[in-house]
Chain length 210, copies 2
């Protein structure tokens, strides 16, 4: 294995995941993973730029940052690349007005988005919000559109909570894709555009990042 | 176009769909499609055997037949091939004990099925029963099984009600397939086994049926 100094030659920035890397979410705000608070602090004292890149879409960036700061992490909203703000940017650029099938915890990210007379559907990990009624509304709306646009914040199959495995947004994305005969646009990892927006946020090229 | 007499040469039995062919379901029990009551009556007066082959899975066969008889159709339970009874047969043959994610209207078909300690999941058009909680339970159960078995009663994308288009079982089948990395076994049309069971019920070979 190459020495760290060799592996890091030319590296100017580091992308860090959050859930399952910095901390485990759960009751009471979650717990930091051993060594991660100090690791982030050391990175920030170094010459390297740091950006946090997450698929978290049950919380707004503000809420996520507040949770992490309470756990001792040195982190600010501008350092977080998350699917909801990236989606808002896309909606604005393309004149899209969404029907939102999302978790209430992330709704504030869409406060300034025009949602009148929807011409697209945005789905995220909505948890209990994935009722038959809400899914059917999203479906009917897509079927009514001449050019149906379905945007999915991530496409994860499931995630782990203390109470067990939980269905993520991916299965519901697949359900709507099959029902409507459309292909969703995924905003979030592993989409290259999403990683690029995180790199842009810290002003670093792909070959300079780790 | 060949004359009817020519087209029917060698035909000994006829398979008839029900929903959208004999009647349109809806409030108040639905309405017969023009000419269909008399057409069924004529078929039954002929030398031809008749079997009704449906993917209906929100009602038991008994309830479906009662609805059709009230509308004037000459039909009995034994003449109906439907996914729920066919599924019960499969469960019995393979020693499967299902977790049922189905509509309450069809639950009575499974009255004599052992559901203790489930070792498979059966989904049907559950309507409002497709809550996040129920879907997550089906998902967790499949993930816990060494050999996960998912049986889906049909795989329709949607159907039409007077209130608009409604999501059918297919999208939810796709959701569980993606979440668990399994492939569902479909019981109902268009499965060849299902058509065969309808042919067997009237004692007619495939080449003798219309």
């Amino acid at each position: 294995m190459a020495a760290w100094s060799e592996r890091l030659a030319g590296v100017r920035g580091v992308l860090l995941d959050i859930s399952g890397v910095l901390y485990d979410s759960g009751a009471g705000g979650g717990t930091p993973i051993a060594g991660s608070v100090e690791a982030v602090a050391r990175l920030k004292r170094s010459q390297l730029k740091v950006q946090f890149c997450t698929n978290e879409s049950q919380k707004s960036r503000g809420e996520l940052v507040a949770v992490l700061r309470r756990l001792g992490f040195d982190i600010s909203e501008g350092e977080v690349t998350a699917p909801a703000p990236a989606t808002c940017q896309i909606l604005k650029e393309r004149g899209l007005r969404p029907y939102l099938l999302i978790h209430d915890g992330v709704r504030s990210e869409f406060d300034h988005v025009d949602m009148s007379n929807p011409n697209c559907v945005v789905i995220a990990d909505a948890g209990e919000g994935f009722s038959y009624q809400n899914m059917n509304k999203a479906f009917q709306l897509l079927m009514d559109l001449e050019n149906p646009v379905l945007i999915s914040l991530g496409k994860g199959r499931y995630y782990k909570e203390t109470s067990g495995l939980m269905l993520d947004v991916g299965p519901y994305m697949k359900a709507l894709e099959y029902a409507c005969g459309v292909e969703a646009e995924v905003v979030g990892k592993p989409s290259p555009e999403f990683f690029n927006s995180a790199l842009q946020a810290m002003g670093v090229e792909a070959h300079q990042a780790q």
